[in-house]
Each structure stands twice: as C-alpha cells, then as structure tokens.
C-alpha cells in the first residue's frame, strides 16, 4: 500500500529562469489552487513565499469573481 500523496512540488522558476523561493507547503498549496508563485512576492525571510502569502492570494481570488479578472 503506497501513500505517497501528496507528491512534493519542485521549486519552480520565474520568467527569467530564477528559482522561486517558496516553502514546500506554499508550493503544494499553490499548485492545488492554481496560484502562480512567479507572480507574487514572499513575506518570509529573504522574500521567501510562505503559506500565509498563498492563503492571502487564494482569498483574494475567491473574493474577486473569475470573470472580472
């Protein structure tokens, strides 16, 4: 019986090929909610994207209906 889920989400890169600094949990949540990490700033040390940043983005997304985007 294997329970590998959820798979780890590798660190992505931005449009200039730089590695996006984000915590494993933030990466995982972003993938799940279709949040683009390349488009956001992190509030963690050295600009690391952490869970609260992704959560804030998810909330924003839910507040603003998709068609107005």
């Amino acid at each position: 019986v294997r329970d590998r889920e959820p798979e780890p989400v590798p660190a992505g890169t931005d449009s200039e090929g730089r590695r996006i600094k984000a915590s494993p949990l933030a990466r995982r949540m972003a993938q799940d909610h279709g949040v683009d990490l390349a488009s956001m700033d992190g509030s963690g040390p050295e600009g690391r994207i952490v869970r609260r940043d992704v959560e804030a983005r998810i909330e924003e997304g839910e507040a603003a209906p998709a068609e107005t985007k």
Binding site: P6, L25, R28, R51
Partner: protein, 472 residues
C-alpha cells in the same frame, strides 16, 4: 529627577531579561525592575534547578543498571540529598550570575525593588525582600515610553491544600528543602508534578501522584500519557488518575491525605504533599486596575505584538497566560521589542511552541495531538516509530518510548509530533524548525539523518506515516 528610559521591563525572568538585551541591542535605553533575583522563576526556582535535580536522579537510575553496561560496582551508590539540592542551587546561582553579567555587558540598568505602574509612563519602585530574605532596592520612580510587564506567574494554590512550604510544599519548597520526605504525595501530573515524582522516587522517596483528569501529562497526546504511565509503574511510582484531593489531616507526625476516586474516598499516608496544580499570573498590585489595563482572570490581555489596551504598556511571558514556558516568554519579548523598535516582525505561531517534560523517559511535543488534529477537521495520516527498533537506543540501553508524527493528508503539512523517550527534549527542535520552515513529510524523509541516532526515528515515523516504513 526620575531617570527616563525608552523601555522599562518589570520582571527579569527569561521573558524580561532576554527582552531587555534585545531592546538594548536595538538602540533603546533600557532598564529592568526586579523585586527578587535576576533570571526569574526559570533560572532561580524553575527550569534550571529542576533539570539539575533530574540529572542527579538520572545518574542514580542508571547506576542501578550499571552491570548492564558491563561494569562492576563494588559497594553502593546512594544519594546525598542535601548535596543534590546544593548542586542544583549552584547551577541556579551560576545562571543568575550569568544574567548579572549580561545586564552589565548590554548596558541595561537594573533597579531592584517592587515595581508598580503609576501612569503616564511612570514606574514606581519600592524596596522588596528577595528569596534569601535580603532587603533589596530603594524607593524611586523611573519613566519610560514603553513599559513591558513581565512579572511572570506563581504556583496556583487550591483551597484543600494551602501551601505552607512544610506539610504542603510548592515546587519552590520541593526543590530547595534539604530534608527528604519518606513518603510524598504529588497533586497534579503535569510536567512539574511528574518531574518531581521521578526525582523524589530516585532519591528514595515513596511517591504517589494524584491527577484529577483521567491520564497523567494530560496536555500531551494520549499515547504519550499511556507510555509514561507504564514506565512510571515499572519504576515503582504510584499513579492515581481521575482522583481529586479533598484535603489532609495531620496525625501522629504523618499526613492523611483524603482522595476522592470512582470507588469512593481513599486515604493515603504521607510525610509531605507537593501541590503542583499549575500557576497563576502575577497581575495583582502592579497598577493594572488603576491604569485600566485589561485582564482576563490572572492573564493580561494582549494583541499579537503584546500590546495591552493601554498605550505604551505591553505584557509578555507567563503573565499573558498559557503555555507557561520560558521559551514562549523570551520569544514573545523579542517580538514585542522588535516591533517597538520598528523592525519587520511576524507574529508568533502559537502552534509552534514546543512543550517538554524532563523526567525519564522524557517527553517533548509540538503542534497538534492526534485528537486536536481530528477536532480541527484535518484528514490525517499518523506514523509511529518505537525506540525499540532504533539501533542507537539499543546501544544506549534506553529503548523505551516512541516518536509519533501527524501529517495532513491534503498538503502533507507536519501537524504535530509527540516524542517520549531518551533525549526527547533535544530531538523536538528539528520538528519545531521544520514546522517553522513549513515542511511537508517529504523533506523530513529526504533529510539525511545521521546514523545511528535517535533523531532518525523522526524520519522513520514519517516514512511510516507515508506508508513507506523501513526499519519497522
């Protein structure tokens, strides 16, 4: 004229003194007011001296198994109780001196005496008596833009057991008295209660621990309580749960302790009772009512940056409520003062405050218990690794206990970890840091834990949670 500071801190426990150092580093002119001794409960009558006592108990416990290690003991090892106490006092006084040095080094003015808020940024100080019975301080007034209350907490007293530090001792009496009771009843099976239970047992005392809830260390995961109970039974420590102490009577030089259990009223003979039923914040007579500082029972109410409802008045540490832990106090203080200094700070995640218990086997935990995780609505996966399967534990001859670790199924978040066993209190730091870094189980499995160590068990428990156990 009254000296004016940027920041005055009332109380020099781990909350107060570390905050003072950080404040001074940040360029704030800082003073501390202390009515007793630098270092507060933690250094003088809390964390440090108890851990010194427990080390003596551990060596005693291990000495009973000395032949297991292939060593011959001709004769006997026995505790010299007053010396054990003396050593502990020595450790406390060494740390106290350390704080004195740190205050000088960091240019922090120390005002001994009892401090009281007098409004408009003023603190009134009056002389007080310290724990050695010495009169300290003098009457004066100091001013500050920012006043941080770090007055800590004191042992809670319950009506059936008035503390007289003779028949009924608090933790303070239990760690400073040089006469050892032959029979000790401990009321309360939290960290302090079980630590003293372990200590006195190995000093030769007959120990009974009475807990009103249905399990010992009730703040811990239920599996941990079960394991500790088993271990204590093996060590010959009596444990009564679901039992309420009603009071005691003194007769024929002994105490008859009345205990209510499911089965009715029982009486236990003892020579002393240790009341270890928690602590209450020191909120009285420090000017809170006069200034209108909001409290909730014995806790000062603060926001995420430790600001009270009154401008310029802050509170940190034990006086702000649970969990009553030294590292909570110091981290709160540092956040508080960094915010005051205008640094970019993040509030503390209370779920990242670990709790430790230093009897053997030790207990350490952080985050959600299994029950809490389920109540919070998480869909969880749980892994457990017993130290019986650890090579290092076998080599050390300490294979009691386990690591239990809890992950969220959806994102793989590490929700909680509960360790009981040798060195648990050192092992938990990895989990605290990993949670701070928002780990998932994968990174814990990927991290190359050195072999052979007990810390590998955290990795092994994680593998078990993910359905990929290796060494079980």
């Amino acid at each position: 004229m009254a000296t004016t500071y940027d920041c005055v801190i009332i109380g020099s426990g781990p909350g107060g003194y570390e905050t003072a150092i950080r404040a001074s580093q940040l360029g704030l002119k800082t003073a501390i007011v202390e009515k007793n001794k630098l270092g507060g409960v933690c250094l003088n009558i809390g964390c440090i001296p108890t851990k010194a006592l427990l080390k003596s108990a551990e060596v005693m416990a291990e000495s009973k198994h000395i032949s297991d290690f292939g060593l011959n003991l001709e004769g006997e090892i026995t505790p010299d109780f007053p010396k054990v106490i003396e050593r502990s006092r020595g450790a406390a006084s060494q740390m106290n001196k350390g704080v004195q040095y740190l205050m000088r080094k960091n240019d922090i003015d120390v005002h001994y005496g009892y401090g009281r808020l007098a409004g408009n940024g003023t603190v009134e100080i009056v002389p007080s008596e310290n724990m050695d019975g010495e009169q300290v301080g003098e009457e004066k007034t100091i001013n500050a833009e920012h006043i941080i209350i770090a007055t800590g907490a004191r042992p809670r007293e319950i009506p059936p057991l008035p503390i007289d530090e003779d028949n009924v001792v608090s933790s303070t009496g239990a760690m400073t008295q040089t006469e050892r009771p032959d029979r000790l009843v401990i009321v309360g099976a939290g960290a302090i209660g079980v630590e003293f239970g372990y200590f006195y047992k190995h000093m030769g005392t007959d120990v009974t621990i009475i807990e009103v809830q249905d399990r010992i260390v009730p703040a811990e995961d239920a599996d941990v309580s079960k394991e500790l109970k088993r271990s204590f039974k093996k060590a010959g420590i009596n444990v009564m749960t679901g039992a309420m102490v009603q009071g005691y009577e003194e007769a024929d030089g002994a105490l008859k302790v009345e205990v209510e259990t499911d089965k009715g009223t029982e009486y236990i003979e003892a020579d002393q009772i240790l009341s270890a039923v928690g602590v209450v914040g020191n909120v009285e007579d420090i000017g809170l009512e006069e200034l209108g500082v909001e409290t909730n029972g014995n806790d000062i109410v603060v926001d995420e940056f430790y600001r009270t409802n009154v401008d310029g008045v802050y509170a940190i540490g034990d006086v702000t409520g649970a969990p009553w832990l030294a590292h909570k106090a110091s981290h709160e203080g540092i956040i508080c003062v960094e915010k005051i200094a205008g640094e970019d700070v993040r509030p503390m995640d209370k779920k990242n405050i670990p709790g430790c218990t230093y009897c053997q086997p030790q207990i350490a935990s952080v985050g959600y218990t299994e029950e809490q995780a389920e109540e919070a609505g998480y869909d969880i996966k749980v892994g457990k690794f017993p130290f019986k399967a650890s090579g290092k534990a076998a080599a050390l001859g300490h294979n009691e206990g386990f690591v239990k670790i809890i992950y969220d199924k959806k994102y793989g978040e590490l929700l909680g970890c509960h360790i009981i066993g040798h060195d648990a209190t050192e092992l938990i730091a990895e989990v605290v840091t990993a949670r701070t870094l928002e780990t998932t189980g994968h990174e814990i499995m990927e991290a190359i834990h050195p072999h052979p160590t007990l810390s590998e068990s955290i990795m092994e428990a994680t593998r078990a949670a993910y359905g990929e156990p290796i060494n079980i």
